[in-house]
């Protein structure tokens, strides 16, 4: 059974990675590197005390707002950039620069303009997440197969039909790839903003635990945000599979 085999492989890779972590913590590679079980114990403590939930309420707010803005505006902008040469000329450079910019160095500027509140943090998430979403969407739309567009026109499709029924579905694998990359970058942005702007939420747990040398708690927080990111990416993959079943498994032209 392929299902159970993939499950076994997932468990196995988990055992190997966490085993290596445990071993590295026991050697120890560094005084500041706790073992896997110490970190998990700290995670359980934080869960029982409710500290981690309070932290996530703080962290998820700029993260989710930023990701929603990046996804909707990013895909819309990407479509437009992909469909219009003029708009491409106007907008693409902004996102290319944004993608290449050293964000940590720009954060003081954002804080000067938008203060230390939610707005700056949402901005950081957007700057991290949006460029890859826009650029991926634009590239995929621009490279939508000519033969399918011709087919659509020859069967009397309108401009709108072609965009909705041919271009967007055929671009969807790369749009979703952009969403996944953008989401991971957004998670990084959310934590980065909490470390660089004001320590709140998960960033606060990380900063505070480190300052009192409670390394298991610090790693527990980092671990939890990674798990959350992976779960979120999985959810995106399922969404894609649900909407574009034929796309995920191959192409008619290959």
């Amino acid at each position: 059974m392929p299902m159970s085999r993939s499950l076994v492989l997932k468990l196995l890779s988990g055992v190997i990675v966490f085993g290596a972590w445990e071993v590295a913590g026991r050697i120890p590679v560094s005084y500041a590197f706790p073992t896997f079980f110490e970190s998990m114990a700290a995670l359980v403590d934080m869960t029982v005390s409710g500290w981690i939930f309070e932290a996530y309420v703080e962290t998820l707010r700029p993260l989710i707002i930023g990701l929603l803005i990046s996804a909707f505006i990013g895909i819309a902008l990407g479509l437009w950039v992909g469909l219009s040469n003029w708009f491409d000329w106007l907008v693409s450079p902004i996102f290319i620069v944004m993608q290449a910019a050293p964000l940590a160095a720009l954060i003081p500027l954002l804080v000067m303009v938008y203060g230390i509140g939610l707005t700056s943090k949402v901005f950081v998430v957007c700057i991290m997440a949006m460029p890859v979403i826009v650029l991926n969407t634009a590239g995929a739309v621009r490279n939508a197969p000519t033969n399918l567009k011709e087919m659509g026109y020859s069967f009397l499709g309108t401009e709108q039909d072609i965009i909705l029924k041919v271009i967007i579905p055929s671009a969807s694998p790369i749009i979703f790839a952009g969403l996944r990359l953008g989401t991971s970058a957004g998670f990084i942005g959310a934590i980065l903003s909490e470390l660089k702007i004001t320590p709140t939420g998960i960033g606060d747990i990380i900063t505070y635990s480190r300052s009192i040398a409670d390394y298991p708690s610090m790693y527990a927080a980092i671990f939890s945000i990674m798990v959350l990111a992976v779960l979120f990416l999985n959810f995106l993959e399922r969404t894609e599979r649900y909407f574009f079943a034929g796309n995920v498994r191959g192409y008619a032209s290959d």
Partner: protein, 267 residues
């Protein structure tokens, strides 16, 4: 093949009953490159006309101009006496590379032409199912294109073109991407289709044998600049049994004659 009610109106449609499609003085330039120069040709109603020629002679360009996908630089195309300004409901296209939507099932692909025309889902799926059966793909309605062989994919492309029930079927090297055995079967099926459906077929091919086998009329196109050099109408082949055509002296003669006139253009 089952027929559609539209066939009833066929006799009353037009005065120029002889030619369903006529091309008048069409030229097409791509910048400096002359793809077609002053090309004129008539396509008789209810018959299959092949456009035959070496690659680069503008066969596909001509077909796409007739489809309304390309605009000619000069000249005009008429379908049933009406000038072509863009794609229309009177023409359906079968693509060389199938042009199926990879994210859509066979059923949705076949119904896609009707979907774009705004036909209700229950109605268009009923029509699509009928044509899927007709092309021999019953049971594959829920399959995706990548799960089908090349030949089956082209059957989907054919069913999609038949489902919109156009009077003119434009086929751009439809069998060139399928294997030899499947191609022979397709050619036989095509003869049945031409005989059974009251449609006009425009068929682009680079295969001399294929053109002679399936055509009522063969237009030979020569490159640089493209023009119709000759129109051949095999007289006795349509009455033959499909399996006897390739042994017929007329078939062999025409194949030889076409090769003799084309060979000097093949580098």
């Amino acid at each position: 093949m089952d027929t559609h009610p539209i066939d009833m109106t066929r006799s009353a449609t037009n005065a120029s009953a002889a030619a369903a499609v006529s091309v008048r003085g069409v030229s097409k330039n791509y910048g400096q490159v002359e793809a077609l120069r002053d090309l004129s040709l008539d396509f008789p109603r209810g018959q299959l006309t092949s456009l035959l020629g070496p690659s680069g002679c503008g066969k596909t360009t001509l077909l796409k101009i007739i489809a309304g996908l390309l605009q000619p630089t000069e000249g005009e195309v008429e379908v049933n006496g009406k000038p072509v300004t863009g794609p229309g409901p009177d023409r359906a296209f079968v693509f060389q590379d199938f042009a199926l939507l990879p994210w859509a099932t066979v059923l949705r692909n076949v119904a896609f032409g009707l979907e774009l025309r705004g036909v209700r889902i229950s109605e268009r799926e009923a029509i699509a199912e009928q044509y899927i059966r007709n092309v021999g793909l019953a049971g594959f309605e829920k399959s995706y294109p990548h799960e089908l062989s090349g030949g089956m994919r082209q059957r989907v492309g054919l069913a999609r073109a038949l489902a919109v029930d156009s009077e003119v079927l434009l086929m751009d090297e439809p069998f060139s991407a399928v294997d030899e055995q499947t191609r022979r079967k397709f050619q036989e099926d095509l003869l049945g289709l031409v005989a059974g459906e009251n449609k006009t077929f425009l068929f682009v091919t680079h295969s001399i044998e294929e053109a002679v086998y399936v055509s009522d009329q063969i237009a030979i196109l020569l490159p640089r600049p493209s023009r119709v050099s000759e129109v051949i109408r095999p007289s006795g082949l349509r009455t033959r049994n499909v399996s006897d055509i390739r042994r017929d002296p007329e078939y062999l003669d025409i194949v030889d004659r076409i090769w003799a006139s084309l060979r000097s253009y093949v580098e």
